[in-house]
Amino acid sequence: MQLDLVPEIVVLGLTVAALYGMLPVAIVLTYRISRTIGFVHGGIAIFGALVYSYLVRGPADGDAAHFGHNDAIIGTTPAILIAIAAGAAVGIGFGALVMSRWMAELPGMTLTVISIAGLLVIGNLSGYYIRPGGLSITPSPFGDGGTRIGDVVVTNHRLAALLILCALVAALALFLSRTYTGLAIRAIADDVEASVWCGAKLRLIGTGVYGASGAIAALGGAMYAAAVAEPVDGILLLLVRGMLIAVVGGLRSLPLALAGAVLYGILETALVVGFFGDVSAGGREVTLSCALLALIVIAARVRKESFFLLERRQA
């Protein structure tokens, strides 16, 4: 182990965590409101990534004139705002569907399967119809400059992602604890039916939460698209990682999910830069998965969750 690598690992790890952390936030939010795992956010992230890339790179129309340079339709800042708005719209649409009266009464596992179907349909349709052209690299809304932190140079893009994520989690925490709507969201997470009997506007709030998490998912997808070359295939993996991270917090806790993202980012960076010696790509994946599995099992033990306890709560 090379201890002099530690600062570098921490800084880079944090920025990796910023990319991994967006989807868990969306997943945790919708889990609280609907008790289903938001697979659909993967689809919305793909959608957001493609919309953003399309807007800043132009269409792929097979014309050789476009090859080798971007043919931006609009600037990067309006593009990312449009991507977020589009993600929110898709989220609201899906939310209105699953919060509707006849769907709301379906069991949680069924809704999870519907969410998976949502991921596949949205992901496939956007992959089919939205085809960005130009360069294979998507420009970042925060420019391509970098900032030196200690000995490490971090791209402005990743730094911005980190700041956005922290601001997002802090704002959400404040929103949940300080506002009446936040109170209602926490009450719905506790007992859906009882909050309806209390007069909470479940469908409105639920659709709103789906819209907000759709926006976050689209932002996460767009930020990811600007950081890597082939976003669409990567986003499914991003979603899987995001879910594992969200599970660390029992799918309910935002701060714990953030902590999970940071741990994961740092561990991955440590493996990549060779902190534990030279590890192959496969070995890296196995190490990461095992570490996360262990973390999840330990976290569940601490919360004393087992399938017996969960059943009692339902009964």
Binding site: R186, D190, D191, E193, S195, W197, C198, G199, K201
Partner: protein, 220 residues
């Protein structure tokens, strides 16, 4: 009449559970609704609060038809429900639980009910920041009733208030219900047969297989 329902047919997915239920509850009255599980008392209460759709017939609150209103609108118009099993929000504090009872009120009026709740149940005033899940069974029942009273309803629906409580505590709960009724609220209490609390109610209705059994009405 605060609550009037006539020839009410209601149920899930178009399958009627209630068959032509008619009942009236006046201000200041405590009416007990008795029935076995599956007899329809719970469905009747949920139809009144609005989570079970009406197929036919009408429900009126002070003469206004509310059959097509959303639950939130009905709560705002003056119906409160204290559900079976209390269903308090275990991870929220007592005060937050109470504030949820005012969820459908405009922002300015949300905290108005707190004082009244603490007058009805002084014990709760000392427990405002405690997580409701850690309260005792009796205190949780108080939270459930106080929560339903937060929107200053004209009609209070109470489902199985004595479930799981020692009879001494049940007597106290019924005394409070009487107090609430005396302030001009119509109170409808659903109970299991085994738990009937005859002395505390003005009238008893028996519901069986989704209809009110006519010859079993009793008045005090």
């Amino acid at each position: 009449m605060i609550l009037e329902a006539a020839d009410l047919i209601a149920g899930y997915n178009g399958q009627p559970v209630l068959h032509k239920v008619s009942l009236q509850v006046a201000a200041g009255e405590v009416v007990s609704l008795l029935g076995a599980n599956g007899a329809g008392k719970s469905t009747l209460l949920k139809t009144i609060i609005g989570t079970v759709p009406v197929i036919q017939g009408y429900i009126r609150l002070e003469g206004t038809g509310i059959s097509t209103w959303s639950p939130a609108k009905r709560v705002a118009a003056g119906i409160g429900l204290s559900p079976e099993g209390r269903r308090i929000f275990a991870n929220l504090s007592t005060e937050e639980n109470l504030l949820m009872g005012a969820a459908s009120l405009p922002r300015a009026r949300k905290r108005d009910g707190l004082d009244r709740a603490f007058t009805l149940f002084p014990v709760l005033a000392d427990r405002t920041t405690q997580k409701a899940g850690t309260l005792s069974g009796g205190e949780q029942q108080m939270v459930a009733i106080a929560r339903a009273m937060m929107s200053s309803p004209k009609l209070l629906l109470v489902e199985e208030p004595s479930q799981g409580l020692a009879p001494v505590v049940v007597d106290a709960v019924y005394a409070t219900l009487r107090e609430i009724a005396d302030s001009g609220v119509a109170v409808l209490v659903a109970e299991q047969f085994q738990q009937v609390h005859e002395d505390a109610s003005d009238r008893i209705l028996v519901i069986d297989k989704g209809t009110i059994v006519p010859d079993r009405h009793r008045t005090r």
